[in-house]
């Protein structure tokens, strides 16, 4: 870790499922000589791609957990985090983007911008991560990079500009023309490791010239020097174009597009050149923390190894040697043996082993300077914790964590499985904040919660493989909620004055629907009607009612409570009395506020051959889906719909059989909506049955 920060790149590779991210990473590691053999993701050699270190990943052909590795390319150190594309694993992508300085957005030359590409792009926007695009799979039938560039513009509103033109497509794809350098590149050798420069093929020359005009026109918006050179008709050096593009990319005002085929070993080396030329180094990215001693005022962080350390733990992994904490240092240096403070818990920890990761292999190092990503052993913390030098009280902005929307009851098959299941759940919940587990007090069942069926399936499978915990699985349960739909007043007296120490408290006010959050408590009591010291107890009492609704025991959200009157007793009023009064007031008001049940609604996008479009729409319609629209994209269509999560279980099987296995879908949480009356009755019936059987 010593090449100087200007020659460091921390990047992620993000995209829709099956766009070729893992294959791309494999090729990058090969060309940077980090690995010495190439293995395909679903390889016949049974080994699988290097980055998919979990057995399950190799088997399913999908990437599950993010893995970090570093490599070197032409004097640059590149740290890569490979991330899953499936929406059920969005938390992994979110974490990676939070700590990276740049990203490669991989798009399939056939599928183009797909539903998860949109989600990933939104995540990149949230964390202001500059990106370059790579149009992969140019060797496939139906590859159309121009269409993909256009989709980047129309669907993701990127100012996308192609930096290359393919030489041939599909089976005839042989190389690319680099528009910046005006040269053709061919990738030769058994694994494309030899890059040969040549003149631009005559047949492509006019296309290249046109594309270069567009490129220079767009790039000149970011460089006065380039603009002047254009206006004066001077020759434009390559470095001037790259400098302008770099400025635009870092400002997220332009997205350079590269292209190739990772599987066919073409275009990767030029992509690496693009990463080093266009994406920022750690010291070019502004870091900020919140000063907890000064009302969470934003303070800048300096990518300076000499300053007091500030670092963010963004991933935890339980391994055979203990907990591994992946960490990004934003300021200062995290060295072996130093003491750091977890700003969330206030606990001091001494740094033990410091590791640089390469998928599942480790390399011991002495320290992590600012701008780098590495891992620590033996540090107890949660994902998202900030570590600082003693004396600082900063916190990095919390990582955005989506709320789980589906739960499942699991039952261990035997006592050994029970013990192992506990260990497994303990580990998984620490690693992944969107995966939660608890014991249902009534049924005594263990309930796991997550972001989708696949999310939970993967953890159940991991429990079995990694911990030998065999579990049976109940029906998935939807995370319903309750809320109110109108304003209701309350005026409740809690009184127990039958002799001895009594209790008295009266709370009056109103509750009403609240759109902007889960709960808001407002104190408008005047003239000390409720003594100030009991106001906090009132809020506590109200809050305690939110965990379970009175009738159906679903969590209650979206309520604003205002207290504006009350009364107290000089002797008998207390915190406990006012908590009880508030609970009573809540129940009184809630019953009058027309409570309703809400269910999670999922945004579903089904990609299907056009011939099955009608059938797919019918399937969604049958599931109480509201179809927003259908996008005709030639041989494929994308149908977007909002469907209740409760109706989506088993959808993948039904979709597969209705479309001969040719369609696929993605699903992510959209919002909560009131359930129809008939469904509400059914839910109420099921809740009552559960209560009865628990009793």
């Amino acid at each position: 870790m010593g090449s100087g920060l200007s020659k460091v790149r921390n990047i992620g590779i993000s995209a829709h499922i099956d766009s070729g991210k893992t294959t791309l990473t494999e090729r990058i590691l090969f060309y940077t000589k980090r690995i010495h053999a190439i293995h395909e993701v679903k390889g016949k050699d049974g080994i699988g791609a290097t980055m998919d270190s979990m057995e399950l990943e190799r088997e399913r052909g999908i990437t599950i957990a993010s893995a970090a590795t570093f490599c070197e390319w032409r004097g640059y150190e590149i740290n890569i985090i490979d991330t899953p594309g499936h929406v059920d694993f969005t938390i992994e992508v979110e974490r990676s983007l939070r700590v990276l300085d740049g990203a490669i957005l991989v798009l399939c030359a056939v599928g183009g911008v797909q539903s998860q590409s949109v989600t990933v792009d939104q995540q990149m926007k949230r964390y202001a991560v500059p990106c370059i695009a790579f149009v992969n799979k140019l060797d496939r039938s139906g590859a159309n990079p121009d269409r993909v560039v256009e989709q980047l513009r129309s669907k993701l509103a990127h100012n996308a500009v192609a930096l290359q033109i393919p030489i041939g497509l599909e089976g005839n794809f042989t190389g690319v023309v680099d528009i910046v350098s005006m040269k053709a590149f061919y990738f030769e050798g058994p694994h494309g490791e030899s890059v040969r420069e040549d003149v631009i093929p005559g047949a492509l020359f006019s296309d290249v010239v046109k594309a270069r005009e567009i490129l220079i026109d767009k790039a000149s918006m970011f460089s006065d020097e380039l603009m002047e050179a254009v206006l004066e008709g001077r020759e434009i050096p390559e470095a001037m174009i790259l400098s302008a593009l770099r400025r635009g990319t870092m400002a997220r005002q332009i997205t350079p597009v590269f292209m190739g085929s990772a599987y066919k070993n073409k275009g990767i080396q030029l992509l690496l050149d693009g990463v080093t030329a266009l994406l920022p180094s750690p010291d070019e990215v502004v870091g900020e923390a919140l000063d907890l001693d000064h009302d969470e005022r934003a303070v800048p962080l300096f990518c300076d190894p000499q300053k007091p350390v500030v670092a963010l733990a963004f991933k935890l992994e339980e391994g055979p040697y203990g907990q591994l904490t992946y960490i990004r240092v934003y300021q200062g240096t995290l060295a072996k043996g130093v003491t750091i403070v977890n700003s969330r818990t206030g606990r001091k920890v001494k740094v033990g082993r410091v590791i640089r990761m390469h998928a599942d292999q480790m390399e011991d190092i002495e320290a992590i300077p600012a701008g780098y990503i590495a891992a620590l052993f033996g540090i107890e913390c949660a994902s998202g914790d900030t570590f600082v030098a003693p004396g600082l009280n900063f916190a990095m902005t919390s990582i955005h964590v989506p709320t789980p929307v589906i739960s499942l009851a699991i039952n261990p098959q035997d006592s050994k499985s029970q013990v192992n299941m506990g260990k497994a759940l303990n580990r998984f919940t620490k690693e992944d904040p969107t995966f939660r587990a608890h014991v249902d007090e009534e049924t005594n069942e263990t309930i796991i919660e997550g972001m989708g069926e696949l999310h939970l399936e993967v953890y159940i499978e991991r429990m079995r493989r990694e911990y030998g915990a065999e579990v049976s699985v109940g029906q998935p349960r939807v995370a319903y909620r309750e809320t109110i739909t109108r304003r209701a007043d309350f005026n409740y007296i809690h009184k127990k004055q039958t002799g001895g120490a009594g209790q008295y408290g009266r709370v009056a006010g109103y509750m009403e629907p609240y759109e902007d959050g889960d709960f808001l408590f407002i104190d408008e009591v005047k003239g000390g009607a409720i003594p100030t010291q009991y106001i906090a107890a009132c809020e506590k009492g109200f809050r305690s009612c939110l965990a379970k609704g009175p009738k159906l025991e679903f969590p209650i959200t979206g309520i604003r409570i205002v207290i504006n009157d009350g009364s107290s007793h000089a002797i008998d009023s207390s915190d406990i009395a006012f908590q009880a009064a508030s609970r009573g007031a809540f129940l009184e008001g809630y019953a009058k506020a027309r409570p309703v049940i809400q269910e999670p609604i999922m945004k579903v996008a089904v990609e299907t051959p056009t011939e099955f479009q009608g059938g797919v729409m019918g399937l969604l319609n049958q599931r109480r889906g509201m179809i927003i629209g259908a996008q005709d994209e030639g041989i494929q269509s994308v149908i977007e719909a909002e469907v209740p999560l409760a109706e989506m279980f088993g959808f993948s099987t039904v979709l597969r059989s209705a479309t001969q296995g040719k369609a696929q879908f993605t699903m992510e949480f959209s919002h909560y909506r009131q359930v129809p009356a008939s469904i509400a009755e059914k839910i109420a019936g099921e809740a009552a049955n559960r209560k009865r059987s628990a009793a």
């Binding site: 729409m617 927003i628 005709d632």
Partner: protein, 253 residues
């Protein structure tokens, strides 16, 4: 709230609330960026508030972007946050809209008919109003337009198009591009949108002008909501029809 919105809707004041007949066709003409899509969406929202199903076909925007248009126009229309009432109304009327998008080169009558049949045959959606945004009226447009009118009539629906006016195309005395002469008779209503300084004016031509209905109106440029007004175009920009309040002639000639 819905009834109140329908009662007070600006369309009522300028007789745009009268639906076109089945197979009828309307056009919104303007240069780029003036507000054709916004106007189309306003028409759609008005129908959706009345409980009519609207099929919005876009030839240049993806589904999500079109959906966002509707959301923004709906919020501008309501202008007041009614909390749950607004949210409930929005969720209710969304069920009356279906968005279909095509790449410009891929849209054809047979493909559109197939997609429409997918919807109706499955009982998923039966539009009463079909909007087509981004259709290029080039050579052969007459046949295509006739076919679309037939198709919409068979569905019991009416059609509205956006028509892009390019600055280089010559126009007649009413501002209608010459290259549309051949198909004007197929339109029952035409709305011309024009910028006049900071204001956005709408002129109604064709059927409405023939029958002396309000002929011009002003749009709020920021919200693109219609505000009721009279003939407030500067005199030198008024058409013969506007100047003559008894005009019943062939206003599209």
């Amino acid at each position: 709230m819905k009834e109140k919105m329908l009662r007070n809707h600006p369309f009522k004041q300028i007789n745009l609330d009268q639906a076109l007949p089945e197979g009828g066709c309307g056009g919104i003409l303007a240069r780029a960026g003036v507000g054709k899509t916004a106007m189309l969406v306003q028409l759609a929202l008005y129908s959706m508030l009345q409980g009519k199903d609207v099929l919005h076909v876009s030839l240049h925007d993806p589904v999500q972007k079109v959906s966002l248009w509707y959301r923004e126009r709906f919020l501008a229309l309501t202008a007041i946050d009614h909390g749950n009432v607004l949210k409930d109304l929005w969720e209710e009327i969304q069920g009356h809209r279906f968005i279909m998008t095509f790449q410009v080169g891929r849209f054809s009558i047979p493909v559109f008919k197939e997609r429409l049949t997918d919807l109706t045959a499955q009982g998923i959606f039966h539009p009463k109003l079909i909007l087509i945004d981004g259709y290029r009226f080039e050579e052969g447009a007459r046949e295509a337009l006739l076919a679309l009118k037939c198709l919409s009539k068979a569905q019991g629906a009416s059609l509205w198009f956006t028509v892009h006016i390019h600055r280089d195309v010559p126009v007649n005395h009413q501002g209608i591009p010459e290259n549309l002469r051949e198909i004007l008779d197929l339109f029952d209503k035409i709305l011309m949108l024009e910028m006049a300084g900071p204001d956005l004016h709408v002129r109604m031509l064709g059927y409405a002008a023939k029958h002396g209905i309000v002929r011009s109106m002003t749009l709020d440029p920021s919200t693109l909501l219609l505000t009721e007004n009279g003939n407030d175009l500067p005199t030198d920009r008024r058409t013969k029809c506007d100047r003559d309040s008894q005009c019943m002639g062939d206003s599209l000639d």
